[in-house]
Amino acid sequence: MLHGLAGQALAFVAALALAPLLSGWVAQCRAWLQNRTAPPLWQPWLVLHKRLLRETVVAENASPLFRSVPALVFACMAIVCTIIPTLSTDLPLAVVADAVVLVGLLALARVLLSLAAMDVGTAFGTLGARRDMMVGFLAEPVLLMVLFTAALGARSTSLASIVDVLAHRELAIMPSLAFAGVAFTMVSLAENGRIPVDNPTTHLELTMIHEALTLEYSGQHLALIEWAATLKLFAYSCIGIALFCPWGLAADDTPLALLLAVPALVAKLAIGGMLLAIAETVSAKMRIFRVPEYLGIAFVLAVIGMLIHILLGA
Amino acid sequence: MNATASTALFLLACVLLAPLIAAVILGFIGDRPGARLFNVAASTVTAGAALLLAAHIIKHGPVLALSEAFHLDALSALVLAITTFVTLTTSLHSVDYMHTECARGRFSRAQQRIYHAMFQFIAFALGLALSANNMGILWVAMEGATLATVLIVSLDRSRPALQAAWKFFVLCGVGILQALFGTVLLYMAAERVIGADEGALLWTHLAAIRTRLDPQIITLAFALLFVGYGTKMGLVPFHGWLPDAHAEGPTPVTAVLSGLLLGVALHAILRCKILADGALQTPVAGQLMIGFGLLSVLLAALLLARQQDLRKLLAWSSVEHMGILAIAFGLGGAAATLAGLMHLLGHALVKSGLYFSAAQAVQWSGTGQISGIRGLLGARPTLAWSLLLGTIAILGLPPFSLFPSEFMTISILLQRMPWAAAALLVALVIAFASITLQVRNMTLGEAQVEAAASPGPGHHRVGPLKRIDAIVGAAPALVHLAIALLLGLALPAWAENWLRQAVAVVAG
């Protein structure tokens, strides 16, 4: 139990520390692929540091909701990161929160952000909130379907036991997971505001989705929200790794095993980030009204994955 | 190999090879003046051989030739005989038709070559579909016949013709793929019983083990095969291609389509139904056929009155009759099957005869529109009479052979499913009224001034020659009607024996 708690703490710390680095790594890879001079890996940390030191300016008509949302969103994302089996599957906290709670927490964070964006009453905030809710309401069922497909095999919705089963079965090809994997990749891109759905580096307000939500934030608030965004990307990457590439997790709770699991995780994240950068470089951003089609495809793939699981039993 | 077997083999070779060789030769010389007569000659050889083969089968029983690749019993011999016979008369009609059309310059030389080659190729494909023992080969032959028909329907390259051909290609292609899936499933079911070898798709083997085939697989297989070959047969709701293809293709081919392709598709469905009945031990297959048959008759009856094109009118009448056939065979049992076979024969004869007449009426008036054909009786009495008599026959009036067959079907349906019989009767009455009205308008009334004033190039002869010409042109249709009349008045003993043998194949 004590080891479990230690492992949990280590995972939590690793998440907070690695999340900005993952975003930095993706930005770096993108820069390399586009023949630009890459920013340093720790650039997001530098930005966070800068934001945390700056004064926080808040609109005059902002309600307390506006002030509390950054912390709440950050808390949601932090909890999400702790209930995903990143280093080991023995997570004391994961007992109370299964896959459905995970999706719920992500939804909660989204609703809070949208409310805050509309709170001040600017046009872009409301526009962004509307777009973000549209993406969210289409993306959540996909994520649920993907998680359910994996849960069908483990006969449990607990993430820890799903990953446990997936990591310890004998080598077998599972077509259902192939479908789920494609669907999950598509939905991750949409949820994290990446190309082809959104462009994280855009400065063009009209095309913004996620950035439009945070236009009114500054200083420490903005730092927390950006940190939360990197945590979200980290969480999605870890879900992907846990479901589709669960090898290398700590087999038991000994500190050595946990420490060995960290480099494995870093390596997998590095590969994943590289793939994400490649995917973003080769594709173009789609028009906003194509997004429902895109997510519709993801949904169909996820459902087919589940059906194939039922048909083939694998 | 004994004498009877080698005789059968020789006749079978004639039936299949004569049209195939003719198709190749006509592919090269199809544009020469003699090609039309060569076409007739090839068809004569085929028809003669087929009739002799049929006689042989009635006398000596089913033929199984060339290491079981070919199989003909009384049922397929019946369909084969009528198919080749109608092909022969169609080729006779085609002489006159092509003469007129070519004189008008409608077809280029290349198109004439395609026309004649494909005409014979369809005859070959239909013969193969009827005589193949392998269900896969049956599929290939049906698809071959479809492709050849597509080429002929689109022959004059006009936009409506291309569209009709495209529709035919796409719809029948989709349908026939369902049939292929059904064939695969059939193979799967057979494989479970007799193992994976070439014999697992041979109909004779399948029929032998039909009670041991897995019911679940066969249900799905029959459903797919029924949809597939039902599309070819023109059953509602898979009928979309039929009216257009019939209206746009050269009429002799339309006659072949209507009389024969539909019949051959029905033959394929019957083969599958025999297997399904054996495997399922329930009348599901028959009920499926009755359901779709009824639907076809009803829709056709409702749409007949709205048709403005003569050949579309006849095409919808084909849909109606295919529906009646599906009902008759769906009912099962010896009496209903006999009625179905009689109806198949009668419809093939009368409908192709009607198409011959329609072709001449269209050539005479220069339009396919019913409203454009007026006063036929005054201008072309022989043609008008053959059209009128054909209509009487197709409506199922006595004394033609469609009357007893329809009557038997309805009375059996009345015993088994009174409500369905009521629906069928209502539909038949509506169809009757629509067709009568349309044909009355064409034949009676004032002759058209324009049509008479500008006759086609085929009508320059005068005096007694003109009359002989008219009679010769109407001869194929009249011959068909005469046979239908004879069959309707009294069945000769040998024909009755033949029909009984065919009924035994279907109804067991």
Binding site: L171, A172, I173, M174, P175, A178, E293, G296, I297, F299, V300, L301, I304, L307, I308, I310, L311, L312, A314 | N134, G136, W139, V140, E143, G144, L147, L151, S154, R157, R159, L162, Q163, A165, W166, K167, F169, V170, G173, V174, L177, L180, F181, T183, V184, L185, Y187, M188, E191, R192, A196, E198, A200, L201, D214, Q216, I217, L220, G240, L303, K312
Partner: protein, 218 residues
């Protein structure tokens, strides 16, 4: 090892279904042709794998035939046709894309439901392929309905045919060789006729298939 190969066949079947969906929603003609070629390639691999597992020589022949015909010849022909006729515009779908997707999903559910009891009876290789193949055929059918232009309709036809062949490979050990040869010849001739057709239709007016459905209710 054998179990893994079986699972691999299942995976290939699933990929073929995925490609069927890709064909269903793809808007550009040339990309559709490439998807079709890929789907055929998947079929080739499946057939060869089945041949290797069962030791049936004729499956290799069938795979080779599929490769030559459907991976090389037909796609090349269709690409040529596209270039010659300058047809590569966006497809005018009759039904909205999300609706199409949803209908496709329902068809997959239907196909799986129908095939499940039968799949359990199969003594042959991969039992799951029947449902997937049936779904592929139905999706091709749907594509036939939702697309109004000629090229997508033909590709739908060909995709359906691929589905049937997948069933033939996965559920039985392939059809007898005579039948496969006959089918291949038919398909080839069909495609050739189509080429002639398209040329004529196209020279007659700019949008070939758009009117091919008119008069459906007649």
């Amino acid at each position: 090892m054998n179990a893994l190969a079986l699972q691999f066949i299942d995976l290939l079947a699933a990929v073929s279904l995925l490609l069927a969906f890709a064909l269903l929603i793809q808007r550009r003609f040339s990309a559709m042709i490439d998807f079709y070629a890929t789907q055929s390639l998947v079929l080739v691999i499946t057939t060869s794998l089945a041949g290797w597992m069962t030791g049936q020589r004729h499956l290799y022949l069938s795979a080779a035939l599929t490769f030559v015909l459907k991976v090389v010849l037909i796609p090349v022909l269709m690409h040529t046709l596209l270039r010659r006729l300058h047809l590569d515009s966006t497809v005018d779908t009759v039904v909205k894309l999300p609706t199409t997707l949803l209908m496709g999903l329902l068809l997959v559910i239907f196909a799986f439901g129908v095939a499940r009891p039968i799949a359990q009876l199969s003594t042959a290789l991969a039992s799951g392929t029947l449902g997937i193949a049936l779904a592929g055929v139905l999706i091709g059918f749907l594509m036939m309905i939702t697309r109004s232009r000629a090229i997508p309709q033909v590709l739908a036809f060909l995709a359906m045919e691929n589905g049937v062949f997948l069933a033939a490979t996965g559920v039985t050990h392939g059809m007898p060789m005579v039948v496969e040869l006959g089918i291949a010849v038919d398909v080839l001739i069909g495609i050739l006729i189509l080429g002639v057709f398209l040329s004529h239709l196209h020279s007659a007016a700019p949008s070939p298939g758009a009117t091919a459905r008119e008069g459906d209710g007649a």
